[in-house]
């Protein structure tokens, strides 16, 4: 029983961590990252390669740092790009990581992967009780990450990010360093993805490239959309439930003799796809949406008086009531303003 629960909790935790990371990058900072799985893989392989040498804890930290560093580089190269293009670049990155992992077998073991990955606290308890330890570890990691991200979101950094997401032009006019903020957000998300990869490695103790597929990215997006972009609490609840549901069905294979393994996998993936579509259509704001704010609301203390004419002029341009209809950007504001009227 404990073994089953532990597996479930660990798998859900990994998914939640990735979701929290993407929530920070996309929900809070507005950056589309389709290469999520690449960063998770980086974290897992970092732990696998360094763990035997420096111990699990240091390896886990390295995983976060390495993933954050690579995120920074990628962001630095592409953060100026419009959202569409950033999505394309990150998906390419995910693919390239996969290719590198598969082919650079002198480092990664290629398709065979790496085994014997050290686990946290494994020497402290007997093998019989380890499942409970891992369960506790996973929960602790999630809790710590959640708290840290919540603090970040509520900090000036987080407010600045949300302002940049809402209207980069006005935020820039108010003096916020738009590019640096975005790169920072990407790096933070990357670090958490690295941690998720570490947990994955700890859980399985054996990794290979085949474990890291685009379904991870899809899960993450579904989680963020379900939870309401920007809300960590929403993500926790929403993503938690969906992950639990999906992971629990993984074990149905034995119960449902009528479909085989490949078909069950296809069913699960297909349902994730349908889930994403339905969510976007029916409840784009997720379970716990952020109420719509204006850039000024994020900075009540800033002296905007001096900047007001310029900012106001820019605001007027951005929210021009006489702009042509239908406008592609209106839908989100339509939904949000209805929200704030309720």
């Amino acid at each position: 029983m404990i073994a089953y629960l532990s597996t479930l909790v660990v798998l859900v935790s990994i998914g939640v961590l990735v979701g929290l990371a993407l929530n920070f990058q996309w929900g809070v900072a507005g950056l589309v990252n389709f290469g999520v799985v690449g960063f998770v893989a980086l974290g897992a392989y970092a732990v696998a390669l360094l763990g035997p040498h420096v111990g699990w804890f240091a390896a886990m930290l390295c995983a976060a740092v390495i993933s954050a560093a690579v995120s920074t580089i990628l962001a630095f190269l592409s953060i100026r790009l419009a959202d569409d293009y950033l999505a394309i670049v990150t998906i390419g990155f995910g693919e390239v990581v996969g290719i590198l992992l598969l082919n650079e077998d002198w480092l990664t073991g290629g398709a065979l992967g790496i085994a014997n990955i050290p686990r946290p606290f494994v020497s402290l308890v007997s093998a019989a009780h380890y499942d409970a330890v891992l369960l506790g570890f996973a929960l602790a990691l999630v809790a710590l990450t959640f708290v840290t991200l919540e603090i970040l979101v509520r900090s000036p950094f987080g407010r600045a990010l949300r302002a940049v997401r809402e209207d980069p032009i006005v935020a820039g006019a108010l003096g916020k360093p738009v590019l640096r903020l975005r790169i920072g957000a990407f790096a933070v998300g990357g670090a958490v993805m690295g941690l998720a990869g570490a947990l994955h490695a700890f859980y399985l103790t054996y990794i290979d490239p085949g474990q890291f597929t685009s379904i991870t990215t899809a899960y993450a997006f579904m989680a963020v959309i379900l939870g309401g972009r920007g809300s960590n609490t929403g993500l926790l609840i929403g993503a938690g439930s969906i992950m639990t549901l999906l992971e629990a069905t993984r074990f149905l294979k034995d119960a449902l003799g009528v479909v085989d393994g490949a078909q069950l996998a296809a069913l699960r993936l297909g349902l994730v796809g349908i889930g994403i579509i339905l969510l976007l259509i029916l409840r784009p704001q997720g379970l716990f949406a952020e109420p719509r704010k204006r850039v000024r609301d994020f900075f009540p203390d800033d002296d905007v008086a001096a900047d007001r004419p310029a900012a106001a002029a820019l605001s007027a341009r951005a929210w021009d009531a006489d702009s042509p209809v239908p406008s592609f950007q209106h839908r989100e504001s339509e939904v949000s303003s209805r929200e704030s009227q309720v």
């Binding site: 006489d322 042509p324 209809v325 303003s337």
Partner: protein, 246 residues
């Protein structure tokens, strides 16, 4: 005295409209335009002039009220259908296809007007005669034209559909005084050719000089609808800034 009343070219009744999720910007406007008239719609910033004309064109869905073009109800028609019903629209900005040549812009303007009478080579020739500069260089990309030339092309494209009513959104915006004069002369010629024109204008002086009738909009409502000669400078100041409504 009994006078036979001709069907108004454009008849608007109690029109209400606004952007999705927002309140009414057009707040119950009623107006009739007699055929071959130029009506200038003026008013302070934010009075809803542009939104009014967009509602007439079908780009903004009306919430209440009706719109008729020579007696035909167009209130629930898509913009494409309204063109076929005789209602042409020239937006203020982005009023030509920059990635298409002049010839392609003009061809497009007539290709999808199934059922519209009077459309054809004869009409096109007539229109191009009004805008010789455009006729001269059919292969040039519209994006490479000057602002004034794009304006003329936009006019021409609207006119080749043989409209009954032509809606113009600030046709003289951003034009030099010489072009303002030319544009307004073109509008006069268009009216003389039998088209009814409704134009939104920021340039009140030009509006008063060339229009047959003037309608003042304040805060989404019709403040008054009179001949230009009736309005004095003081009246306008009052109407624009005094918030008075008729």
């Amino acid at each position: 005295m009994n006078v036979a009343v001709p069907i108004p070219a454009l008849s608007v009744r109690a029109l209400r409209a606004g952007y999705p999720g927002g309140g009414d910007i057009v707040r119950g406007i009623s107006v009739d335009l007699a055929p071959e008239t130029i009506l200038a719609v003026i008013g302070p910033n934010g009075s809803g002039k542009s939104s009014f004309v967009k509602t007439l064109a079908g780009l903004l869905r009306s919430r209440e009220g009706s719109i008729e073009v020579t007696g035909k109800e167009v209130t629930n028609l898509s913009p494409a259908r309204r063109v076929r019903a005789g209602l042409a629209y020239v937006p203020q900005e982005a009023n030509v296809f920059r990635n298409l040549t002049i010839a392609e812009n003009l061809k497009l303007a007539v290709e999808f007007l199934r059922g519209r009478s009077g459309v054809g080579p004869a009409q096109e020739a007539e229109v191009l005669a009004m805008f010789p500069e455009i006729a001269r260089q059919p292969k040039v990309l519209a994006g490479n034209l000057s602002g004034g030339q794009r304006q003329m092309l936009a006019f021409a494209c609207a006119l080749v559909s043989n409209p009954e009513v032509l809606l113009l959104d600030e046709p003289t915006a951003g034009l030099s005084p010489k072009f303002v004069e030319e544009t307004m002369q073109a509008v006069l010629r268009v009216r003389d050719a039998g088209v009814t024109v409704l134009l939104v204008e920021q340039n009140v002086a030009a509006a008063l000089r060339f229009a047959d009738e003037v309608m003042v909009l304040v805060a989404g409502r019709k403040s008054c609808h009179v001949a230009p000669s009736v309005l004095s400078g003081a009246d306008l100041t009052d109407l624009f800034f005094g918030g008075a409504s008729a």
